[in-house]
């Protein structure tokens, strides 16, 4: 990273830290959503963008993370900080099972993607029948108060959630930057480009693909815990739904798969334009169901046709961050 990049990044960081001082609650909720999607996109990117393993079922890890931490809180009053670790463990274990099944038996490419959808879908259906989680009726976390910042129970005003997801996002960005520069980053990219050549260079591809899945699952579980305590209600039909998985991957695809800032740029653009469109239509008193989805589809089409590597690489060149 050059000096210019550091200046821009600190500028953006300062802006985001100062945002709650002048933003109203609506802007703050949009910003929170953007950061949430930027983070889940970042987590997905570790698997697909770095290691080349396409997951179309990442909502699975969000949902399991949310339900484990939420359920432990709902039933036993266990706080989110303890629940986080258990949620993370559960997601890593599930990721390990999926990864083992796929990589041990040579399932790759499209078939691997189908396997990830299958796991997400049958978990969704399974949770619909689980009494512990409230089934299709949902699970509702009690909200005692929204005024005081109570970090121990992760309860407080919207600003607290905003800062929390901002910190998580920044942490993920730093983690991914470090991973990319490490041995793991080189090995993952080698596997992504050509697995047979990677093996011939002494890379245990099974082990490194497993690592990518497990790290990605662990990161995504954090988003799940955040989701549970931010929205306070969980329905299997919502959290595990394939549309949630697609929502996670749209940001990085539009921003640039495999890049560090692609997921952030993509999430910001999609959310701003999508919400802007909804607002605009509302201003004219038009209510068009599904217009956001159609719009997402159009944006995706345009990006795939004109900037197939995503918006971030050309944008980075424009900003003088890359040659």
């Amino acid at each position: 990273m050059n000096r210019r990049a550091w200046v821009l990044l600190s500028g953006l960081g300062a802006l985001l830290v100062a945002l709650p001082a002048f933003a109203d609650s609506y802007v703050l909720s949009v910003a929170t959503l953007i950061l949430y999607l930027a983070f889940t996109g970042q987590a997905w990117n570790v698997m697909m963008g770095f290691a080349g393993q396409l997951s179309l079922g990442h909502a699975l890890y969000v949902g399991v993370g949310a339900y484990v931490a939420g359920g432990l809180f709902f039933h036993y009053g266990l706080g989110p900080w303890a629940g986080l670790w258990i949620a993370m463990l559960a997601c890593v274990a599930i990721g390990a099972v999926i990864g083992f099944l796929a990589f041990r038996f040579g399932i790759s490419g499209v078939y691997f993607a189908l396997l990830t959808i299958a796991f997400a879908e049958f978990t969704r259906i399974g949770f619909d029948h689980l009494r512990w989680t409230g089934g299709p009726g949902g699970m509702f976390l009690k909200v005692a108060q929204r005024d005081q910042i109570d970090l121990a129970h992760f309860r407080g005003p919207p600003e607290m959630y905003y800062y929390a997801i901002l910190a998580i996002c920044a942490g993920a960005l730093a983690l991914c930057a470090a991973l990319l520069r490490s041995r793991a980053g080189y090995y993952w990219r080698a596997i992504r480009e050509d697995e047979e050549a990677a093996r011939a260079l002494g890379i245990d591809t099974f082990r490194w693909k497993m690592a990518a899945v497990m790290i990605s699952a662990a990161m995504t579980s954090v988003a799940g815990v955040f989701y549970a305590f931010y929205y306070n209600n969980l329905f299997p039909e919502q959290v595990f739904h394939i549309s949630k998985s697609i929502e996670i991957i749209l940001g990085p695809i539009i921003g640039g798969v495999g890049t560090l800032f692609g997921p952030v740029v993509g999430a910001a653009l999609l959310t701003l334009l999508g919400d802007g469109l909804t607002e605009l239509l509302a201003a004219f008193d038009w209510e068009v169901p599904g217009v956001k989805q159609v719009f997402y589809g159009l944006v995706l089409l345009v990006v795939v046709i004109f900037v197939p590597n995503g918006l971030w690489p050309p944008l980075a060149r424009k900003l003088g961050l890359r040659r």
């Binding site: 520069r181 490490s182 041995r183 080189y186 090995y187 990219r189 080698a190 992504r192 480009e193 050509d194 047979e196 050549a197 990677a198 093996r199 011939a200 260079l201 002494g202 890379i203 245990d204 591809t205 495999g258």
Partner: protein, 241 residues
Amino acid sequence: MSLLEVRGVSKSFRGLKAVSDASFSLPEGSINALIGPNGAGKTTIFNVVAGVYAPDAGEVLFGGRAIHGLRPHQVCAAGIGRTFQIVKPFSGLSVLDNVVVGALLRSKDVPAAKGYAAEIIEKLGLGAKRDLPASSLTLPDRKRLEVARALATRPRLLLLDEVMAGLRPTECDQMVEVFREINRAQGLTILLIEHVMRAVMALAQHVGVLHHGEVIARGTPAEVVRDPAVLESYLGEDVEV
């Protein structure tokens, strides 16, 4: 003492015998060539040695240790580097990063691996292109990159699968010089599959000829090109070398 010993290796694909009862051994520090017509089983032998296929019968010993049950990455870690006939660059990575991936096998820390990779890139004459994406390289340069990447894993034995194909005679001679240099300086043992007889004659001390999966002749290059069986099956009567 022989570094690699292939003993009675056979390998079939759905009833088709690709390699049958092939045996040879490579002395440590030697340069060897495996020649023969297309479909003779040369690449299959390579893939058996490199751990891509397990042999149906026979064994492969490397430095006295059986390696025929190992997987490709373990064979590489044991000290055998290879190139692919159809080159497999990591297209999205820079030339340097391609070679760094190989270098990371022996030096776990990234800066050290980068330093070593840069040295090898210089040696192969790719220094000016180190920051270009591998996808932008010409075919001769991709072949060099294959060699550089394999060398970066610091092998004791290097398997070269037709790295001269598609090179111009002068480029071919440069490559020959590089292998001679590495062989002399580091005592690296080399086994090459090659159709370019110019390179085989210039480089190899020992030549094995494969036909229909069987070793039909072996000896020095000069002996092999006079062997009647070889002339009939592969080189033709009017061989010019």
